[in-house]
């Protein structure tokens, strides 16, 4: 069905093409604009908190509160909480699901920390499934599992990347709870995400691990783990520490 479109609106949406930057900044105007903005959002926050309080109160009074029991399809990576039994049942190398689209494996990406152009290497997806995991305030990494070809990107407790300087280091301690029939630990790739790019650092296949990642250049960093073995890997007792250089 045809849709009406205004030419002027197309121009509005393209205004970046026409506007030159102002040659000088008006500092006073900028200060005033900030004052107006932060005064207004302060008012908005107060209103929202009042509404939230009312919503909580209503819920506490027993109005609403619907519990729905549902069986969730287990994703390719996830935290182990109440689903421990389900996770452990499935750790015998069975792929839970694999989406195919005309012969190509479809990626599922639940992060925007990796720029789209870096999601492929030589035309092949870098992982089948990528998701983010927040660490706790004390650096603890939640106990989690990764299926074959899955990558998890660790962030701070706020879901942000870490601001690192040259000379700083990440230290990641963890245990791999799984091993193959010969008792050998599964293989993981570990590295960092910097500026939207995946920088692979090490490949490891030990049960107990202490990995040190040195930061070569200041900027915002995330840490990733990728399961490059064919079977599921479970990560436990993980701690991610940031050490500041001198």
């Amino acid at each position: 069905m045809p849709v009406k479109f205004k030419i002027s609106e197309m121009f509005d949406n393209s205004c970046e093409l026409f506007e030159n930057e102002m040659q000088h900044k008006n500092i006073e105007s900028e200060k005033r604009i900030k004052e107006i903005v932060f005064l207004e959002i302060g008012h908005t926050k107060a209103k929202r908190n009042r509404r939230r309080y009312i919503a909580v109160l209503v819920a506490a009074m027993g109005i609403g509160g619907i519990t729905v029991g549902a069986h969730e399809v287990l994703k390719s990576a996830g935290e182990i909480k109440n689903n421990e039994e389900v996770v452990l049942e499935n750790q015998n190398g069975l792929a839970l699901y694999e989406k195919e689209n005309s012969g190509a494996i479809q990626m599922e990406v639940e992060t925007d920390m990796i720029l789209p152009e870096n999601l492929y290497k030589d035309g092949i997806p870098i992982a089948k499934y990528i998701m983010e995991f927040k660490t706790e305030r004390n650096g603890s990494v939640p106990e989690c599992y990764l299926d074959n070809g899955t990558m998890i990107v660790l962030t701070d407790f706020d879901g942000d990347t870490w601001n690192m300087k040259t000379g700083d280091t990440f230290i990641l301690d963890f245990i791999q709870s799984d091993s193959d029939e010969r008792g050998k630990a599964r293989t993981l790739e570990i590295g960092y995400i910097f500026n939207g790019e995946v920088i692979d650092e090490k490949v490891i296949s030990e049960t107990e691990n202490k990995i040190i990642l040195d930061i070569p250049k200041s900027g915002q960093y995330g840490v990733y783990l990728k399961n490059v073995s064919s079977d599921r890997v479970t990560i436990s007792q993980g701690i991610l520490t940031v050490e500041r250089g001198k």
């Binding site: 069905m1 045809p2 849709v3 009406k4 479109f5 205004k6 030419i7 002027s8 197309m10 121009f11 509005d12 949406n13 393209s14 205004c15 970046e16 093409l17 026409f18 506007e19 030159n20 930057e21 102002m22 900044k25 008006n26 105007s29 900028e30 005033r32 604009i33 900030k34 107006i36 903005v37 932060f38 207004e40 959002i41 908005t44 925007d112 920390m113 720029l115 789209p116 152009e117 706020d158 879901g159 942000d160 990347t161 500026n195 939207g196 915002q220």
Partner: protein, 206 residues
Amino acid sequence: MKPNSIFIRIDKKQADGIWTMDEIILMRKLKKKDERALGKIIDLYSAYITCIVWELLHKKGTKEDIEEVVADTFISLWLTAERINYKQYSSIKSYLAMIARNKAKDWLRSYRGGILELNDDILLIDGDVERLILQKEQQLIIGRTLEKLKEKDKAIFIMYYYRYKKIEEIAEILKMNPQTVKTRLRRGREILKRILLEEGYDASEI
């Protein structure tokens, strides 16, 4: 800037609509209501947004009115950050610019004693309409249209549809006959329709 010398910038980043990592990080923080991120965005773009708003309001509004509209733009960004599917836009800057233009037009509409007459033509577009909603797509189409126009035709097109000048005003500025201005506008619309067709859309005027 002289009215018949138009600066057009279509860099590869905008053509591809690729966000930089800094912008993505800022938007993520903004979605989590990080006020420092908002402060940073105001530092980066308030001059640019002021430029856009000033362009529309300087004849009718005061300095304070312009500041209010600019502030409104950033407040709108703050309030809608959680909902924005920012990948539909080529950058934070282009999203802000779009909001700023709309806020400025709203201000003009509510300006006491003023009637806002916006020059416009409506196209009826058939095709993959959902795709057309992407701002970065529209930028490409407009950019390509303007590239194909001669300098004077380009100037007329922009003055009419973007700077909302009347036919008579344009004719006076460019020292042309108003009928000639109309003819050149029509030429521009023909090229725009042709480009839409090349992109897979069928467009006609109503």
